[in-house]
């Protein structure tokens, strides 16, 4: 079985390939450059490196967000179109869950997050239990401060994983003190190969209906709904 994994949901661009149970190739870059320009050439290059032809692919796994709206759409447009054209199954995995795998051996709460500006984060909380990454806090777009308060209430060590760790590190330590564990930079980036691990026991998605996991309404939509609410209350 040959699997291609794609993650362009945040600044990290990740592509990984698994052949017959082995990860044979992986590309991870963490630069602020255009995913749209770089994704297909990266896939082409990696597939060539591992001598894999597109028609030999059996499955595609894609990080479906949360993250940059545009980034997520680049990943999904690419993954869905490839899966459809090759007539192979696709699986969408939460971008937070992929990152959580960097804390796979941590005995405690594993909290991946992405900065969402204005004090907000996309975040969730996981625990490694019975050989499974179990989500114990729902994915949400929330204020980092509120998230930290919630984590503090567990009174358990918390592992923080995020490419945006530096933005929030001070606040995390202020709020959680000794309970906060912040690993080295190498653990702060999502790895596309972990997508394959995360998808192992997952049932396949329907290619047509697989949609991004934005965790947030489009701004115009949110405003419109708010307006409707106001009008209805008057």
């Amino acid at each position: 079985m040959n699997i291609l994994a794609i993650d362009t949901s945040n600044q990290v661009l990740g592509v990984a390939i698994q052949q017959q149970g082995h990860i044979t190739g992986e590309i991870v870059t963490n630069v602020s450059k255009n995913h749209s320009v770089r994704l297909m050439p990266a896939i082409e290059k990696l597939m060539k490196e591992v001598s894999l032809k597109p028609e030999a692919l059996d499955q595609i796994i894609v990080a479906k967000g949360p993250g940059s709206y545009t980034g997520v759409r680049i990943g999904l447009s690419t993954a869905k179109s490839m899966a459809w054209a090759l007539n192979i199954p696709i699986i969408g995995i939460s971008s937070l869950e992929v990152l959580a795998y960097q804390g796979r051996f941590f005995n405690g709460l594993i909290c991946p997050f992405f900065d969402a500006r204005r004090g907000l984060v996309y975040s969730s909380c996981f625990k490694w239990e019975d050989n499974n990454m179990v989500m114990i806090e729902p994915e949400a777009n929330m204020l980092m401060d509120e998230f930290l308060d919630k984590l503090k209430s567990y009174q358990h060590p918390v592992l923080f994983l995020s490419p945006d760790i530096s933005v929030h590190q001070e606040r995390i330590q202020e709020k959680l003190g000794n309970l906060a564990v912040i690993p080295d930079a190498t653990f702060q980036l999502p790895r596309a190969s972990h997508l394959i691990m995360a998808a192992k026991e997952r049932s396949v998605d329907e290619t047509h209906t697989l949609t991004p996991n934005y965790l947030r309404l489009a701004e115009a939509e949110a405003k419109w709904l708010e307006h409707q609410k106001r009008v209805n209350n008057e």
């Binding site: 770089r38 297909m40 680049i74 447009s77 690419t78 179109s81 490839m82 459809w84 290619t207």
Partner: protein, 336 residues
């Protein structure tokens, strides 16, 4: 016998998710358009983020539908053409990345197409081109005069210096409280009204083929505003007719002058506003007098679709043009 060229076209530059299959740049085998107009109506215009979200939800459905309708298999497809720009960048990105993924997965050549080239080539799906040819492109985002000496060569001889004609239509429609999209509404009202107000015509420099509609737009807004302050009620139909008369006068006069100056063999009208009845009638009358053939595509080929992208892409493809897998979406892309 020359082998057929079959091109798959993809268009997502604004609020239509469209896929088409076209044979030899002239024959539509499938032309599927999934319109989002209903989703944007409540916002009074296209919201880019919402358009992009729809595209990613629709793209594979529309692809599949186009394949089903055309009875095509991948083996028969010679290449993939996709709108590269101009347009809403987030919307374009969905089509561009889908096209690249297909090109790689099926090892097919890829070619990026300019949206306006697409609008022009919509006409070739109806009638073969004769050069030199003049194209007037009028839509929500464009008002351009393009001269073509041969296939795939575009010379921009005139463009709007401010608003596109379609933009002016939408703004005036909003002033008149007409539902979105406003263009067709004004066209409909104009038919019922009279040109009772002489709105300005922006001719610009004597030899210029450029356009300007912001002055006209302001003039319409001021007229409505002033009448309101005086407590007068202007007939919507008359405002629409007067506004439309000004737009059509400028568009027709400049197109006629350019057609004569360049001695063209054909005049083509393209873009959403080409569906406007008033404009069609005025152009038809003028060019009938001059004995220059005028091509206006049927409505479904005037508005955004992917058959036009496949048609323009066929020419690019036959001329040996190819795009790399690093092809990007470009919000503003010069026509050349």
């Amino acid at each position: 016998m020359k082998k057929d060229t079959i091109i798959l076209g993809i268009e997502t530059s604004c609020d239509e998710t469209a896929v088409a299959v076209v044979r030899n740049g002239r024959e539509i085998l499938a032309n599927v358009v999934s319109s989002q107009i209903e989703s944007h109506k409540r916002f009074g215009g296209v919201v880019p983020e919402i358009a992009s979200r729809h595209h990613v939800e629709q793209i594979t459905y529309v692809l599949e539908e186009a394949f089903n309708q055309s009875n095509t298999t991948w083996e028969k497809i010679d290449g993939i053409a996709v709108t590269e720009g101009p347009g809403l960048v987030g919307a374009l990105l969905v089509g561009v990345n889908a096209a690249k993924a297909l090109a790689f997965a099926k090892q097919k050549p890829l070619v990026g197409v300019h949206h306006i080239a697409g609008h022009i080539y919509a006409n070739r799906l109806e009638k073969e081109f004769e050069f030199p040819l003049l194209a007037l492109i009028v839509s929500g985002g464009h008002t351009e005069l393009v001269l073509m000496q041969e296939h795939g060569e575009y010379e921009l001889i005139g463009e709007t210096r401010d608003d596109a004609a379609g933009e002016a239509y939408d703004k005036v429609a909003r002033m008149l409280n007409l539902p979105y999209p406003g263009g067709p509404q004004i066209d409909r009202l104009a038919e019922l009204g009279q040109e009772t107000i002489t709105f300005p015509r922006a001719w610009l420099e004597q030899d210029s083929y450029d356009f300007s509609f912001s002055g006209l737009k302001s003039s319409v807004i001021n007229t409505i505003h002033n009448a309101k302050q005086r407590g007068e009620e202007l007939k919507k139909e008359d405002i629409a007719a007067s506004f439309q008369a000004s737009v059509i006068d400028v568009l027709t006069t400049k197109t006629v002058r350019a057609a004569k100056d360049f001695n063209v063999k054909q005049v083509i009208v393209a873009g959403g506003v080409a569906a406007n009845k008033g404009l069609r009638n005025a152009l038809e009358t003028s060019f009938a007098e001059l004995n220059i053939p005028l091509l206006i595509p049927p409505f479904k080929l005037c508005t955004d679709n992917a058959a036009m992208i496949a048609a323009a892409g066929t020419i690019a493809f036959e001329q040996g043009k190819r795009s790399e897998l690093s092809l990007n979406a470009r919000a503003s892309l010069p026509l050349k």
